[in-house]
């Protein structure tokens, strides 16, 4: 309710202007790996009617061939489905008899796509059998044994892992070899799921990031912390409920000792940590438990520091049955550090959006910085952790996006690249 009021004028009252831009889904660690990794494989032109026999001969020669490892690569394909660079090598298709090495030459002759009696067979990874042994196997089996010259086995690069989307499968088919796409993403969230969620949060994401920026600025102006902030939103019941708003408090001195500016400050008072702690205190309050008794230390800087933080902290907008930050979304001005990325995961968030990449310290991204493509200066290529989606290793996963401003000049970071957010 309150969030709706904020949307219809409140943000302007705080002189908060929503950022204009778009959500770009983060690539998972496995997706990055899948997009880069290739292996060498043998391919062979065979007459269509012999394709089965050749396949049997290969499987007899390599009894432990793990075809499951390259199920995403079509095994036997027609000429017309080959990528153009391979069509050139095999033009014209030579289906009636095995091709000797005298005909292995690139040709600009007219294509013969209508001739459908040649097949192109992906034999195996190069690592599975030596080239010389493979040629021997083929020579011992018809039709190659009767041919005047040994068969030509080409070696090509192919993607090592299954594609993550139909688009990627189509691109790989053009670049490498015909790919089979099973409408799944084995290495990350399904593209449809990501798109549906992005559509749901896109209309307000720029506002929440601007609010995060504002609370960060307020605490920065108080000399409490870096210009970093975050907003926790619960959209699971349709309306937008802003559960917590918190800035950074790493330079604040809650006790006798100050935190020297040449150090890293009070790490546990990063804005993400503070916001998560505020959610927990609101839960304790909703459960009728004494939140002060449960968290005796002011070092955590769990209590609101400004009117803006206090305003949302005092809202009774948490359901009493909830657990941690399940169903909640996290909006942060900058890519969270490894500690905060894992805190978001521990807290079971549903989605996370950050406003700027931190290539030297960020824990969420798995690939090299997108900013590099926009010719911006960056000092690092990212740590590659991709903490948001590593389901075989970590016990929770969430969807994550980075924000790209329409005007890329506003993407310049407000804090040093070496800062942990």
């Amino acid at each position: 309710m309150l969030a709706d009021t904020l949307l219809s004028g409140g943000l302007e009252q705080l002189s908060i202007v929503a950022r204009k831009g778009a959500l770009v889904p983060l690539k998972t660690k496995d997706e990055v790996r899948a997009a880069l990794e290739t292996f060498e494989a043998y391919i062979l032109e065979v007459p269509a009617r012999w394709a089965g026999a050749v396949k049997d001969a290969i499987h007899a020669a390599i009894p432990n061939l793990k075809t499951a490892d390259f199920q995403h690569l079509r095994r036997v394909v027609q000429f017309k489905y080959l990528p153009v660079h391979l069509q050139k090598k095999y033009r014209p298709p030579h289906p009636s008899r095995p091709r000797g090495d005298n005909v292995y030459q690139e040709s600009e002759d007219a294509p013969a796509e209508e001739d459908d009696t040649a097949r192109y067979f992906l034999i195996s990874p190069v690592s599975a059998i030596a080239h010389r042994v493979l040629i021997d196997v083929l020579l011992r089996n018809s039709p190659f044994g009767a041919a005047p010259k040994p068969p030509i086995v080409l070696t090509i690069s192919v993607p090592a892992l299954a594609p993550c989307s139909a688009e990627q499968a189509a691109q790989w088919t053009l670049d490498y070899w015909p790919i089979s796409y099973k409408n799944t993403n084995p290495f990350g969230p399904h593209p449809n799921l990501v798109a549906r969620n992005a559509l749901e949060i896109a209309p307000n994401a720029g506002s929440w990031l601007a609010l995060a920026e504002e609370v960060g600025r307020q605490l920065y102006d108080l000399n409490f912390g870096e210009h970093v902030g975050c907003v926790i939103v619960d959209k699971s019941r349709g309306s937008h409920e802003i559960i917590a708003v918190a800035g950074d408090c790493r330079w604040r001195s809650p006790c006798a000792h100050s935190f020297p500016r040449d150090g890293t400050g009070n790490v546990m008072a990063h804005s993400v940590q503070r916001a998560i702690a505020m959610v927990a205190k609101k839960r304790l309050r909703a459960a009728g438990r004494d939140s002060e008794a449960a968290s005796p230390s002011d070092i955590f800087c769990e209590n609101p520091m400004t009117d803006l933080e206090r305003h949302f902290y005092l809202q009774e907008n948490l359901s009493t049955t909830g657990y941690l930050c399940v169903d909640m979304d996290m909006y942060v001005t900058h890519e969270p550090c490894v500690m905060c990325s894992m805190a978001i995961l521990h807290s079971r968030f549903r989605r996370c959006v950050f406003g700027r990449r931190m290539p030297l310290t960020g824990g969420l991204t798995a690939d090299t910085a997108l900013q590099a493509k926009r010719e911006q200066t960056i000092d690092g290529s990212g740590l590659g952790h991709g903490i948001f989606w590593r389901p075989t290793e970590l016990n929770w996963k969430f969807l994550a996006w980075e924000w790209m401003d329409e005007d890329s000049t506003t993407m310049t970071t407000t804090i040093s690249d070496t800062r942990q957010v």
């Binding site: 150090g263 500690m339 521990h346 807290s347 290793e393 970590l394 016990n395």
Partner: protein
């Protein structure tokens, strides 16, 4: 590690285990730790995720908050951590950002360990100074505490059918080592 060093480190790991035992008695995941500077314990902590309803309140966070109430943050540069379970990714990164001197732990955490279990936050690329880690001190005791909690948890589990079938297994580690119970 020579015999003399072993005695030294085991003394503090014993203290960390007693913190974990205290956690077990108070219905928290049995992970305990002590921070040691020049042979003296300057802070103690145990998991407090259930009491605080905050999934980030691990033993290391609790102990460091206590230390920073009394000492300047730079004391951590001369302080070692003894913790019964390998620090998680979050704590491992936090310890590096604070500039911890070194970390000694009991059992590895294959589900979200940050110093070898899953990531290597103590030694991989970072803007912060790396720190040495040494795992396996009283490993069996640390695991046994977690198993006791796992069984105790099951006594309170909502499905009575399941709890009867669960017993003190010897080869299975609980998955959510630090996570608070669903309320």
């Amino acid at each position: 590690m020579n015999a003399e060093e072993k005695v030294y480190h085991e003394r503090f790991m014993r203290e960390a285990i007693s913190m974990a035992e205290l956690a077990l008695r108070t219905d928290e995941t049995p992970v305990g730790c002590v921070f040691v500077k020049d042979g003296e314990i300057i802070g103690r902590g145990m998991n407090a995720t259930n009491k605080t309803l905050n999934g980030t309140r691990h033993a290391e966070f609790i102990a460091i908050a206590q230390i920073l109430e009394e000492h300047p943050v730079t004391i951590l540069n001369e302080t070692d951590l003894y913790v019964t379970v390998e620090p998680c990714v979050m704590c491992a990164s936090m310890l590096r950002q604070y500039g911890i001197k070194g970390v000694y732990f009991g059992c590895w955490n294959e589900r979200f360990g940050g110093t070898g279990g899953v990531l290597n936050c103590h030694s991989d690329t970072s803007v912060d100074k790396p720190y040495p880690v040494h795992g396996g001190i009283f490993r069996e005791e640390a695991i046994m505490l977690l198993r006791k909690f796992y069984v105790q948890e099951n006594d309170k589990a909502p499905e009575p059918k399941q709890k009867k079938t669960r017993e003190l297994k010897t080869e299975i580690l609980p998955m959510d080592i630090h996570a608070p119970k669903p309320s």
